[in-house]
Amino acid sequence: MLPKTLKLTAAAATAAALALPSAAQELTIGFVYPSPIADVGWSAELDAGRLAVEEHFGDRVRTIFVENVPEGPDAARIMNQMAAQGAGMIMLGSFGYMNDGMRLAEQRPDLTFIHASGYLLASNFGNFQSRNYETSYLVGMAAADVTETDTIGIVAAYAIPEVVGMINGFALGVQEVNPDATIKVVWLNSWFDPPLAQESARALMAQESDVIYSLYQDTPSVVSVAEEEGVWVINTSSDMKEYAPTWLLASQVADWSTHFIDSVQASLDGTFEGTAFWGGYADDTVDVESWSESISPETMAMIEEAEAAMRAGSFHPLTGPIEDQDGMTRLAEGEVITDEAMLGIDWLVSGVETRIPQ
């Protein structure tokens, strides 16, 4: 890994140089990203949060970042270096940074940390996630509206609770508009393999799926093949309209600005508490961008209504009666799933054809 390490060291050195304390700044904030900041994708989305922090606080804070940091010793070294160079707050952008981050948080109670996903908490170590199943529900309604074959395909990485929850939200949205639609899933069993993702999308299209839901594919692999083949596509985690100007049905996005700004404010005020932030519509964290014009006005009105209800906190997509694939009742009439159950969800709703890999 020689060149990568060299590059990292160089990047860390730059970060260190930038981090020299200056009188005007009250707080230096370090951002650690797991992948390169591209035009789109997870790191790009986090970086948008960083820019929002800069804009909001102006000269009061300084941000530094290191991208493409592998989980493990490299990440530990980068965050230690950020701390040693005067960073007062660190944002950790990947699940795998958790243990190293927590170790540093214990050694340096004067620093504050916010960590993407993960489950460890301390008084100076909080984590954040988004309630993507809310937007999944809305794009599911749109998918059901445009499908002509009544077959919708999903390309998904691994069956972790977040992904399973999103598939459930999506399927319930589909069924709200079109109860007859069939939903198929191809599990890639890989976090990152753009050619495989594209092959999966083609496999689904060959079997009549005319809407493809690209779940956490960080590259435009699925989106661009859908545009090429003339098949509707929905993207997760950042807007990919430019890669599929005609056939993008909608993009589910997360906006970390509000949470990042709140956390920075709390660090400045000395009121930071390590909490588990799980932001949805009610917290302005999730949204859908680039709705296609082809969605019928009736469905769009239903979508807007559901969105407004979620913003107001009066509606949860997983509200009973809900049966799972085996026909077992998981939620009784009117029962709303608890956050705890949602965080560990391991069953799919009836109507999804493919099973969860066990």
Partner: protein, 305 residues
């Protein structure tokens, strides 16, 4: 029917990058040099090909640039093993890792970008045939080239003086040297050919098959190439068969998943590897035959002054 066209037609394209890289690796190994850096060379070829193609708009330049950089990297491997007598395994791994890092540096500014894929070139008349036409005769030009590369490699290795020389050097470089053959030059050329083919295979991934650049997009295909040459017992036909088998089972398993059959998806994801290994192991189960075909000096440090 759509599924059949998807699997059969898709297999040719899915195996193309593997065919290019595997034919190159086969020639290098036949001359006695093991190159474990294929993954890195494919990655650099993919990055370089993508960057040059996006900037110039020319697929030809993209493939040439990918091939060129793959070749340069493989020559580093050749220099280390043939001139400085480094261990072939260690050198191959090191150069491969260098290639992965290099690909990340080259592609940095293009991360997550897309280009239009290499267009399909239908063969006149033949592409009009129902079912068979879309399966076999509506592919991009590199698919046809990769198919032609298979008999060409076989012919050169088995029916020409050059092929005989390469195989002789692979069997016993010392004896070949005593006969006056330029062992280092020929080996280096074979390794360079292998690097160029790996570069083309990589560029095929990034500008034709999945027309985008993302770091790590080769995702282990270079290692499959290394495995194919070994499991295919260094025979052109079997290596090519392995590549197509791997490609078709990959697409088949995705189709089976998309059908909604309740087979554990982890098993399905492992299927291409399992089937390819089992099939090649079964057809190559004769140990005498393997010994006859494997280059005797493969992996050994060159003992020439």
């Amino acid at each position: 029917m759509d599924i059949l066209i998807f699997i059969v037609g898709g297999t040719l394209a899915a195996a193309t990058a593997l065919i290019f890289a595997a034919m190159g690796e086969l020639v290098a190994e036949k001359s006695g040099v093991l190159n474990l850096g294929i993954e890195g060379m494919m990655a650099t070829g993919a990055a370089m090909g993508f960057v040059v193609m996006s900037l110039s708009g020319s697929y030809t330049l993209g493939f040439l640039a990918g091939a060129g950089l793959g070749m340069v990297l493989s020559l580093v491997h050749a220099a280390l093993t043939l001139v400085f007598r480094a261990n072939q395994v260690a050198s191959g791994l090191a150069v491969g890792i260098l290639g992965l890092g290099l690909s990340s540096a080259i592609g940095k500014k293009f991360e997550g970008r897309t280009v239009d894929g290499l267009p399909e070139t239908g063969i006149p008349i033949l592409s009009e045939i129902p079912v068979l036409g879309p399966m076999f005769f509506q592919q991009d030009i590199m698919v046809y080239m990769s198919i032609l590369l298979i008999p060409a490699t076989w012919y050169v290795l088995n029916r020409t003086k050059l092929g005989l020389t390469i195989r002789a050097i692979g069997e016993s470089p010392e004896a070949a040297h005593a006969l006056g053959l330029k062992v280092r030059v020929i080996r280096a050329s074979c390794v360079a050919f292998g690097g160029a083919m790996a570069g083309i295979g990589g560029a095929y991934m990034s500008i034709a098959y999945t027309p985008l650049w993302a770091e790590g997009m080769i995702a282990g295909r270079g290692w499959i190439v290394v495995a194919l040459t070994v499991f295919g017992t260094w025979m052109v036909g079997r290596v090519a068969f392995g590549a197509y088998l791997f490609g078709s089972i990959s697409l088949l398993q995705l189709s089976i998943q998309a059908l909604g059959l309740n087979i554990p998806s982890q098993l399905m994801s492992a299927l291409p590897y399992l089937v390819t290994i089992v099939m090649l192991a079964v057809i190559s189960r004769n140990p005498m035959f393997i010994r006859l075909n494997s280059p005797a000096s493969l992996g050994a440090t060159l003992k020439l002054s």
